[in-house]
Amino acid sequence: MARFNPITTVFAVFGLAVNLNAAQADEFTTVDEQRWQQQFMDSVKQGRALWTSPTLGSNGVACAQCHPNAANTHPETYPKFQKQIGKVIPVWEMVNWCLRNPLEGQPLAADDPKMVAIQAYITYERRGVKLEPGKH
């Protein structure tokens, strides 16, 4: 009857774990990358649709009416001290300010997929611009 060798067993289990980690973390393909990019761009596309939608608020006004191509939203400067609110806020709080005021609508939860999509869109329109957190 063979004796159980604890050291060998530990090496075997450890080795198996290393192999599994390698497969999950390092081995992704172009197909994976394309899928992830597609997921992101789907969110951007949804955000653009919301940005131009007359039904996001209650009065038919769309974000794009004042912010064509999401210009003058500068997401790369958030979080920042928003002088009109008097504290440091993330960009989604300003999106909600616009939803409540010019759009006369209801605010969205921070993790609402619509809010995520809006942030994906406005950030995508600023691609290539350097991060300047805190800049007014």
């Binding site: 006004v61 794009a64 064509p68 290539g128 611009v129 007014h136």
Partner: protein, 358 residues
């Protein structure tokens, strides 16, 4: 003239403060000639974007902007000879919007000349608008100045007539400023031919003032801060000694000089627009002369909709801007350099932080 301007401006501020507790978001245009008796003024209101919600409801914010401009224009003393409306009275060109806008404008105690904007046009190609406001393009003479009104927001026939399944969709596609399905604005061959014939009757020394909705110069195509046949229109205006083009559409201060032609934009009563430079993906040609309007604060609903005096001395334009919630601006025609220049901010090192858009 500066004394006259200043005193009138003081009156406006006082009158506005008495009646409405604020300054006046209109453009007062004054044309000055050698003889003071020939001087006259006109006011300029533009880009109201009256927007129908449903039934009897309209977007309050845009209504308020136009109502305020009209009320304050009625306070002007001396009374301007006429009022210009620079286009985009409506948001989606419907009879409800045009009627509601016309109702607000009817409070003016002046003759009003209307310019066609794309938001007025692309539902029915101006049919209802013409019934209310008259021809889409025309000219008139007033106290020695030849005024020309153009419909500069037409586009390629194929886009207008063949591309869209219905008029409502055509209107919606053109109404989105940043919509890639839109099409570049143009004056077009029909009006250029008319303009050439119209100008043939005018002496080359007569001051010409042209009103268009879009800039008759090329600034940024993506948002139609652009007129496709701008160069061809400019060529028709070139033989004249002094020409001023005044346009709406851009909802911001712009000024430029191309040869003999001075260009000036007027502000909107509805909302301000970002400068093209603030769109990181855009290649644009904002005139280098233009010192941007201060960055708008959305928490002040009427910020960046102001009013301006335009004093046309011997045909050259001097602008005195009053900006809500911001310091006033003065842009004068520099007779030495032969182009408009800001009185305080023209040189790079004199600009203030709120003018640094990005």
């Amino acid at each position: 003239m500066n004394n006259i301007n200043r005193s009138r401006r003081n009156f406006l501020k006082t009158g506005g403060a008495l009646a409405l507790g604020g300054t006046l978001p209109i453009s007062l245009v004054e044309l000055a000639f050698a003889e003071a008796s020939q001087n006259f003024t006109f006011a300029y209101i533009s880009d109201a974007h009256i927007q129908h919600i449903k039934g009897s409801r309209f977007v309050r914010n845009w209504d308020r902007g136009l109502i305020r401009a009209v009320a304050e224009t009625n306070l002007l003393t001396p009374k301007p000879d006429f009022v210009m409306f620079g286009g985009d009275l409506a948001q989606l060109g419907s009879p409800a919007e045009l009627d509601h806008g016309a109702e607000i404008m009817s409070a003016l105690s002046h003759k009003v000349h209307y310019v066609m904007g794309e938001h007025d046009y692309y539902l029915d190609l101006g049919v209802y608008w013409e019934k209310l406001f008259g021809p889409q393009y025309h000219s008139f003479d007033h106290k020695g100045v030849h005024f020309i009104v153009l419909n500069s927001i037409r586009t390629y026939d194929d886009w207008t007539y063949n591309r869209w399944p219905g008029n409502e969709q055509r209107m919606l596609e053109m109404a989105g400023l940043d919509n890639p399905n839109g099409s570049p604005f143009m004056v077009g061959e029909e009006q250029r031919k008319w303009l050439k014939a119209d100008l043939a009757k005018i002496a080359k020394t007569t001051p010409i003032v042209v009103f268009s909705h879009s800039p008759l110069q090329k600034i940024y195509k993506g948002w139609n801060f652009w007129t496709e046949d701008a160069e061809q229109v400019q060529a028709l205006l070139k033989p004249f000694k002094t020409v001023s083009v005044i346009y709406g559409h851009v909802h911001q201060i712009q000024y430029n000089q191309i040869g003999n032609i001075s260009f000036n934009s007027v502000m909107a009563t509805a909302w301000p627009w970002p400068y093209p430079a603030s769109y990181a993906q855009a290649q644009h040609y904002l005139p280098k002369l233009t010192v941007p309007m201060n960055r708008a604060d959305p928490f002040f609903e009427r910020d960046a909709t102001g009013w301006q005096f335009i004093n046309v001395a011997n045909g050259n334009v001097d602008l005195n801007f009053t900006l809500y919630n911001n310091t006033d601006r003065v842009v004068r025609f520099d007779k030495t350099k032969k182009h408009p220049a800001d009185k305080d901010y023209q040189t790079e090192n004199m600009r203030i932080d709120p003018q640094q858009h990005y």
